[in-house]
């Protein structure tokens, strides 16, 4: 069969081609939804995000325990009297000393970034690239700082945080360590992952 030089009804043909293209693109976009959506956290992964409980009765001053919540390490530190006295003496070296960036719940937006005085609950996921910073409570000279006031040091890329999880200026990490939602069920039971009732 010989194709006519100009097919009849060019307007209709063009409309049909365009309509088919649009419908086809819509179908592809629709078909992409399940494929992309299946990469979201599954119901099981979300359930694993349930709150974690920790007994802090045996946590002595100056000590830290690691609690796992959503697969993340959460550091719980009970500060000693000595470090509490020093904790706000070092503000000039910090990048966000007043916790202005949204890295903590409202109830932890204070000068200790804590819900309960003397206890810090910090997500140990470095705000740079997600390594777990190491706990260096000692004062004085360390291999990475000549006048260390106690805090956390990230071994991956050298970010430094003070004991309240506030980031030092001039390190790769841009933000303070996040304070996860948490509350105290009793004097000794800490619940991580829920805000509890407002206090």
């Amino acid at each position: 069969m010989v194709q006519p030089k100009s097919p009849p009804n060019p307007g209709r043909r063009k409309f049909l081609i365009n309509a088919t293209t649009v419908v086809g693109a819509g179908a592809i976009a629709g078909a992409a939804v399940p494929f992309l959506g299946s990469w979201n956290p599954s119901a099981k992964a979300e359930a694993a995000g349930a709150p974690a409980k920790a007994d802090i009765s045996k946590l002595t001053p100056g000590e830290m325990i690691v609690v796992e919540w959503r697969g993340m390490p959460i550091y719980v530190v009970r500060h000693s009297e000595e470090s509490l006295a020093l904790i706000n003496e070092n503000l000039s070296r910090l990048s966000d000393p007043d916790s202005l960036n949204d890295q903590q719940p409202e109830y932890a937006k204070n000068n200790l970034r804590a819900r309960k005085k003397g206890i810090s609950v910090l997500s140990a996921v470095c705000t740079h690239l997600g390594c777990a910073p190491k706990f260096y409570p000692q004062l004085g000279t360390t291999e990475f700082d000549s006048n260390w006031q106690g805090g956390f040091f990230c071994p991956c890329h050298g970010s430094k945080f003070d004991l309240a999880g506030r980031v030092y200026a001039g390190v790769p990490a841009p933000d303070n360590l996040p304070v996860p939602p948490h509350y105290y069920e009793s004097e000794t039971i800490l619940v991580i992952g829920e805000d509890g009732e407002a206090t």
Partner: protein
């Protein structure tokens, strides 16, 4: 002849002979090709090694957070020849990168990306990108400490993208931290999607090569002078002339390959990092995180950016610079304004900048493999600048330098 009759029966139905002649036996290869032209053929060998050893590893590997690390130990200790197949795969990964870097350098040296080989170059860059993804996803699968934390660090880069970063990161991981869910999807990508894509892209790369023909160390167009059959004068058929070179090179290459595989499989901690002999622990970061050697130049760039600009965080900028360092190769055909292709006839500036580029790449590679100190960070910043200067200043220095006259036909020394 019986064989001929059988062959012609097939050829009438499927162009077997024609395809073999066009793409293999009679492919016209320039007569002045040198040792730099071996990397491509060697990579085909490595591709086969990787596919075979990969499929065989798959027969015993278990892609779960609980079982992955133990299944690697099982492959190493209990499966017959399991250790050899695994070392073949890890050595093959390093060999692939070593060869592709040499192959890319060859292209930069002889201007193989210039017209009409721009697309050939871009498609080749795609294979490099796919290799990078394959290397990363494969590295995570043993689920050792370095697997886990490398995945954590590299994926966290996406979290630095303003506004959408956090959601994007959770979507990529499929969890709130790297977990078995992440491992499973990286596994699927590593063993199915990425190899399929790699094979397809290599196929297109070779198709494009055979359309435009190979460049050569003189960078002259061999198609200008042809004999009465239309075969370029300065070429020889691939069979038997080139294949013999390639076979010899494959022999030498396999000696090196086997030496590493049998006697030096962890390559001093470069091919397999020692930290990865410890099972993944999501609560404890290793003291010193280093990527595999083939990523270290870009890792050094990532770490070199320690200051925010225009309100963009240092973390995001580091990611951008690192990605740009990998992506900028694509622009090379359009950055080079030189009338000549090969470094042999280019001017002194092109030579200087090419040397500077290679030096920057190697020094950044070293800096990315050691822990950072203020001095090293400063050096990384300097060499990141010189790395990019090769590309970004190219439109200027390649245009205004004095080139040597290019001969009409290839020169054999």
């Amino acid at each position: 002849m019986k064989v001929n009759r059988i062959m012609s029966w097939f050829d009438e139905r499927l162009p077997i002979t024609a395809t073999i002649e066009r793409h293999l036996t009679k492919y016209p290869a320039p007569i002045n090709m040198n040792i730099w032209y071996l990397a491509g053929a060697l990579m085909i060998v490595v591709l086969v090694i990787q596919l075979l050893s990969g499929i065989w590893l798959l027969m015993n590997y278990e892609p779960t957070a609980e079982g992955a690390f133990a299944s690697i130990q099982y492959i190493m200790r209990d499966v017959e020849y399991g250790w050899m197949i695994r070392y073949m795969h890890t050595t093959g990964a390093s060999a692939f990168f070593a060869l592709i870097y040499l192959h890319m350098f060859r292209g930069m040296m002889y201007g193989s990306y210039q017209k009409p080989r721009e697309l050939l170059w871009v498609v080749g860059w795609l294979t490099y990108l796919l290799l990078c993804m394959l290397g990363f996803t494969g590295y995570v699968l043993p689920w050792g400490q370095m697997s886990f934390w490398a995945a954590q660090v590299i994926m966290s880069l996406f979290g630095s993208i303003p506004f959408i970063g956090e959601e994007l990161l959770t979507w990529i991981r499929g969890d709130y931290l790297i977990s078995g869910i992440t491992l499973n999807r990286l596994f699927a990508l590593h063993v199915v999607l990425l190899p399929l894509a790699l094979i397809a892209v290599i196929f297109v790369h070779i198709l494009a090569l055979h359309e435009v023909g190979s460049n050569n160390p003189d960078g002259v167009d061999v198609k200008k002078f042809k004999d009465e059959d239309g075969v370029p004068l300065d070429t020889k058929p691939f069979f038997p002339y080139d294949i013999t070179h390639d076979l010899y090179a494959i022999g030498v290459f396999l000696i090196f390959f086997c030496f590493i595989m049998f006697f030096y499989p962890d390559g001093g901690g470069y091919v397999i990092e020692y930290v990865n002999y410890e099972a993944a622990n999501n609560l404890k970061t290793p003291d010193h995180i280093v990527p595999s050697w083939y990523y270290t130049p870009y890792y050094a760039m990532l770490r070199a950016i320690t200051f925010p600009i225009f309100g963009l965080s240092a973390k995001f900028l580091g990611f951008v610079v690192m990605a740009a360092g990998i992506a900028i190769f694509v622009a090379l055909p359009w950055l080079d304004r030189s009338p000549v292709k090969s470094i042999r006839y280019k001017g002194v500036y092109s030579r200087f900048f090419l040397v500077l580029f290679v030096a920057s790449f190697l020094i950044l590679g070293y800096l990315g493999s050691v822990s950072s100190t203020p001095l090293r960070t400063f050096l990384a910043q300097i060499f990141t600048v010189t790395y990019f200067s090769y590309f970004l200043l190219m439109p200027i220095y390649s245009k205004y330098e004095k080139c040597k006259p290019v001969p009409d036909r290839v020169k054999l020394s």
